[in-house]
Amino acid sequence: MYFDCIIAGFGGQGVMLMGNILAYAAMAEKKKATYMPVYGVEMRGGTANCTVVVSDGEIGSPIIQRPMTAIVMNLPSLEKFGPRVKKGGLLVVNASLVPEKEVQFKGIKCLMIPSRDLALEVGNERLANMVVLGATVRKSGVVDLKSLKKALYPALDRRYHKMIDVNIKAMERGARFVTEGV
């Protein structure tokens, strides 16, 4: 089993947290995982991205040029990483910020998630990242949704643990969107 993924958006959308949770979920399933934040002179409001690799065996490079999966949370990220997704790969798009007409790629699966609407449904638009993460995990099967939920505990600082329930709801909502299409 091998999976790699680039998660990108602008600062504040919680893309680094998404990467961390995914890696923790993989660990909970006794898999190997690497998490590599983009490293540059970045600032708030700038772009942010991280790379997560999950495998049964030893992981070589934590840096991936052409990922199997990319999650793009805004338009600049789509432009940068959309064309890089490997043939047959998966592109998960935050449809609340990226118009569908921009998503024109051949040979890959594209999953449009109206993350803001779904997040508002479960209570708060800031949960959009968890909606998208839940959807990605359901679609790719990289880890079990159960492991993803459990990963919130080690990934979040204790003072945010009271938010775990609502984060779980957001993940479930994203996953349900993938299975039911609404």
Partner: protein
Amino acid sequence: MAEAEFIKGNEAIAMGAIEAGCRFYFGYPITPQNDIPEYMSRHLPDVGGTFIQAESEIASINMLLGASSTGARAMTSSSSPGISLKQEGISYMCGSQIPGVIVNMSRSGPGLGGIDPSQGDYFQATRGGGHGDYRTIVLAPHSVQENYDLTMKAFDLADKYRNPVLILGDALLGQMKEPIRRRKYRKKEFPKDWTMTGAKGREKRLIKSLYLSEGELTDHNWMLNKKYQSMKREIMFETQFMEGAKLVVVAFGSVARILKSTVQMARDRGMKVGLFRPITLFPFPYAALDKISHSIKNFMALELNTGQMLEDLKLSVGHKKNQVDFYGRPPGSIPSPDELFNEIKKIYKKRIG
């Protein structure tokens, strides 16, 4: 076995240090290693240790010299320009035979350069770096687990040889997070009959690097040289896919890590490529590479610089009819496994067909 923990590379170094008994840390902030002082400042007081943010890099290396001369386990960390500032102190530590662990999570140069991963400090690290005829042991981890394990080892080696030990990494190894397993550190005891602990009730001791009597400094230098030679028994390296290899790619640290994916890609495509990864950069595994060159003739060094470890590779296998090729990527961007594959493919085609 302990449960796996998900840890940032820099933090793994700090964790390993504290578990190996490091009780003094001195440093001055610089990207990309600030997680090390941050961790130390939070956790050293819990174990009765001392954290000092010094006024400069020069102050911190001399604080390390002072703390270590009492026999305590102590560490400093910085990044390339800061490590340059520490060179005078490192030279004095070597001349006075004072142990200590120095971490260089290097950035790019020359000068202030940038903050990208770089291996441009290879010469500085392996050839001494400061003035005088000296060497430090240099350990080059390629994973977060190794950051942790090799930091523990660094303290033992420093005490064993009464010599500074340098850990050489970069932003990739410092910023990456991976699961690691902690292990119980078994402290080895080393003679401390040289330490400055107060001379009450015993003969006085002197730690110095100034030798003015006739012949004294010559003898001192030869004695140090003998010590550096004896470090050969600490040589560490890793190999992968060497069986039937026609081309051996040689790399350390972050590039070696990326190459592990590349070599797998090459093997999947039927190319007979093996990987040789020096873990100790000083002492360099010359003999091991020389031995390999009896059956394999083609070598290629890959580095995040314009050719430094390449020289050591040539010293190992550059004789006879061996081919030594090179791909360098000076700092600015990190090469992906695919990019490295294309570079290796070119050489493979040219040398093997």
